[in-house]
Symmetry: C3
């Protein structure tokens, strides 16, 4: 029959491999065990543990709003009593995802533009003679521009700067030590665009007062995202007062691991708090601080300012999530690759059977049917024919 004819003809039939059954218990059992292992791996690990049948999404959309509550009174010798409210100690004040809480500060009031001595703390500011104070050069990591004069009184260059320069040392005790009792409210909305699923970490209640009174508790109030600063910090394993004195960074991680094949109520936020400014060897780094100034003008319209060097705790609220939902493609890839894997095993068993046993040559002859062009009427082949007939006769 012609090539194409045969081709179409064959299409209508069911073609299936011809198998050779090797009555060899060892290989047989070995192969079955292997098949079971693969099956177990696919079902147990890929499907049950790793949920390999799910399409995953990690590109989470998220919005975080934060709000702090609490006031504290500081009382320093220089500046007298001062009341700090959220509008002062939260920077920036507008409820962002990354914010800073002032816990300690150095205030330098009434600075005016002028000429004064550089602080002795700045190495580059020190001098023996005017030669060390090159005019017009700025002091490296310093407060101003050198005027070219060396002041013997202080042993530092005279500079053109906001005078007097900041001099006082950081208070050993945090001035806002009571910030430990401030509360932070973290509102988080998430959305998995691929699955069009969205949720918030705040309880949806009609009870107005709930969010005013509750405080977070994994068991009883998982949907009341209000934390006391002190608790939050201590849960990272650090002492609040130490951290407050020199400053630091805390990462608040909100994790949403959601199996969207289950009910949405099973998709809950998990909070974890870690101190970010740590070295690998778990020594704390130098802390966290920055400066800002408040500008004023006097009657004559001259500008003066109050400089604040604030130490405090920076919070990075990080949200990440992963949602999974059944999808045919990953399922098929998982199954397909598993099946292919069985093929690998079969190949291995064949190798053993065909080349690593004393009866191998015998197997080879039965497994492989040689087709050659030279001697057609060859023993093995005629034999097969006979065998076939016989088999059919019973």
């Amino acid at each position: 029959m012609a090539g194409w004819g045969g081709f179409f003809f064959s299409l209508l039939n069911y073609k299936t491999e011809k198998y050779v059954i090797a009555e060899n218990r060892r290989i047989g059992i070995l192969f079955r065990l292997y098949q079971l292992a693969v099956l177990g791996y696919i079902i147990g690990w890929v499907f049950i543990v790793k949920k390999g049948y799910q399409e995953k999404e990690e590109a989470i959309q998220t919005s975080v709003i934060t709000k702090l509550k609490g006031v504290t009174l500081t009382n320093t010798s220089e500046t007298g009593p001062y009341l700090w409210g959220a509008e002062d100690y939260v920077i920036p004040p507008n409820g962002e995802q990354v914010f800073f809480i002032v816990t300690n500060y150095i205030e330098t009031p009434n600075q005016r533009l002028g000429f004064c001595a550089e602080s002795f703390k700045i190495p580059d500011g020190r001098c023996q003679s005017d030669g060390d104070c090159l005019e017009g050069e700025s002091v490296t990591a310093g407060n101003g521009i050198k005027t070219g004069m060396c002041l013997n009184s202080t042993g530092t260059c005279e500079i053109h700067a906001w005078c007097p320069v900041e001099h006082s040392k950081k208070p050993a005790e945090p001035l806002l030590s009571e910030s430990e009792n401030f509360t932070i409210y973290i509102k988080n909305f998430i959305r998995f665009p691929k699955f069009e699923f969205s949720k918030s970490n705040v309880l949806e209640t009609s009870d107005e007062s709930y969010l005013k009174t509750c405080s977070y508790d994994k068991e009883n109030h998982p949907y009341c995202p209000i934390f006391r600063l002190g608790d939050l910090v201590s849960s990272t394993g650090h002492a609040y007062q130490d951290m407050a004195a020199k400053g630091g960074t805390i990462g608040v991680l909100i994790q949403w691991i959601c199996d969207l094949d289950k009910d949405s109520s099973k998709c809950n936020p998990q909070y974890s708090f870690t101190r970010l400014d740590m070295n690998l060897n778990n020594t704390v780094t130098s802390g966290y601080n920055f400066r800002y100034a408040r500008y004023h003008k006097d009657e004559k319209g001259e500008t003066y300012r109050t400089l604040y060097k604030v130490y405090g705790i920076r919070f990075d609220i990080m949200v990440n999530g992963q949602a999974g939902k059944f999808n045919i493609i990953p399922t098929i890839i998982a199954i397909g690759s598993g099946v292919a894997l069985i093929g690998v095993g079969a190949f291995a068993c064949d190798m053993i059977l065909l080349y690593m046993m004393n009866t191998s040559s015998y197997y080879r002859e039965r497994k492989f049917e040689i087709i050659n062009f030279k001697s057609a009427g060859d023993a093995s082949l005629s034999h097969t024919d006979i065998m076939v007939t016989i088999t059919c006769e019973d």
Copy 2:
């Protein structure tokens, strides 16, 4: 012949499974249909719909710059006329990705540190007797530190605070109601590092005036990212004035779905606007507001401040994107798993053919060729035995 000899010998030949053709139309057609289904799935779904031949990148790099335009005049009984420009109503003013627009506010001018009555709105501030006002204790969610005195006049504790405390109620009508006509300009640069592809959402034109005059329009001006606040909010299905009164959060999602096998002009941004501060049951949450203060000093150098409680709309501009480009690995994984899938079908058909039909036993005998060692007196096998002995005799 020796194991290895045979191994190398076989290497030079083409080994292919021996097939048994079952002239069984039903199974045959069933299997063909299954093969077509798999083929259809791979080509249609994996390749055409899901573009399974592409390597995907979701780790998009992005930079967003925002700028608002518009001025409005407010006129309150307490403070008289006041002109709001972008430098005032945008917080922070420096064109960030997440920003806040003041639409309503409560102003408390000329606050000075001192002693006054806590607001009656604060539950913890109310008192019957001095006993309710523990000295030095801060008022929970309040404005200051209790002095230990209970003021009968107001029925609240006297506190050490910025006085007078904020008292007035939020205006029912947004004071900056005209902010509806402000325009927001969103400049977005994206980059897919893996494919080194970058693009911007702004038309590249030499016409200076274009961006000054145009406004976004999906059809005609897709590359003019200038939006009127009112339109933007209403497109989320909410009334601007209601939102402006109590505040809220709006997510502006810019999506870049790019098939980099096609021309870059096919890779366009898609804008979508959603209100983020919604509960699942679509009730609006309490709104959005925060406080900030402006500090001043009088002639005597005493500090006083103006406290603002601002309500407004917070915009979270979220950019996500996905780029796909042909890559051999996902292609092969897709094909490979599909092929393996056909194997699964073949296995299933075999099961039917071999164990679930009345002619099964007959098929089995033809499909499986038994090799055993013990002599079961039938011809084919006795022959085998001989062969075996021979084999063993070499």
Copy 3:
């Protein structure tokens, strides 16, 4: 034997495909080459190059802290000498991931609420007659609200605004040209949650002075993340002074490509600097600027302000990373799909062998064993035998 009996019986044996060996060198070698190719692809490309045996994580957690150092003195005719420190030129000052450095500015001091002429630069503010200045209407992209009067002196509408309105032009030369010598310190902590691996880009040294003196150098100081602004900008291929004059945006990309099967010391940050505000045709866009105001009160308690329009460089610090670690699932998927691929090749070779060669019909008869029901097997089969002999005889 019964279906199920046979089924269980067969379970104890090792079933393996019966192969037909086609002594056809060309096909044989072709197939071997194909197998080698697939093997090479899997080992070489998937495993060695693409590390296909690794589970990848791209959802990196990161925290960035920035700090700038340097002071400069500006001297403008209007406002006299003014000293800029980090607390002034960094906006916002609190060491965020996205920040702005003032390099040029227009100062408009002593603005007070009142009535004055709109700037002529604003198209919508120009007028011929009062009719062009609709009362109560705000000037589009302008500074205030029209009073309904057209001022002939300036040819613009009179507006209710902060007066005088900003008028002066942007200085051609950046006023803070020395900002080129400022240094920026970028502290970056990363964490791969899936692998619980975290690292920082700062050298962990006990030497206090190291970070005060060092500056970044790919070879010698890879863990000293301190950059001179000028170098940073020039490494993007742009001139600092040009950029400083009109402003721009620079992306600082920190990349962490980590093979966690290797030692953690092999996982190092890679810095790259790109200018973000570029069009595809590499022309620079309009620059970057925004306005902010400082508010003051005079003796009479009247508010006045100083408006700053600041031009400068905005830095977007983007961190991305990818960590890979050996995992069994991707390994198996890679192998499995490769194996399946070999199947594809075998199928192709079969097609050639069976339908595209002159000896094809002969192969078909040897490869396929026909089973039919009509005649009690013998006929069809004896037929095969005969056929075989015949075929072989030609």
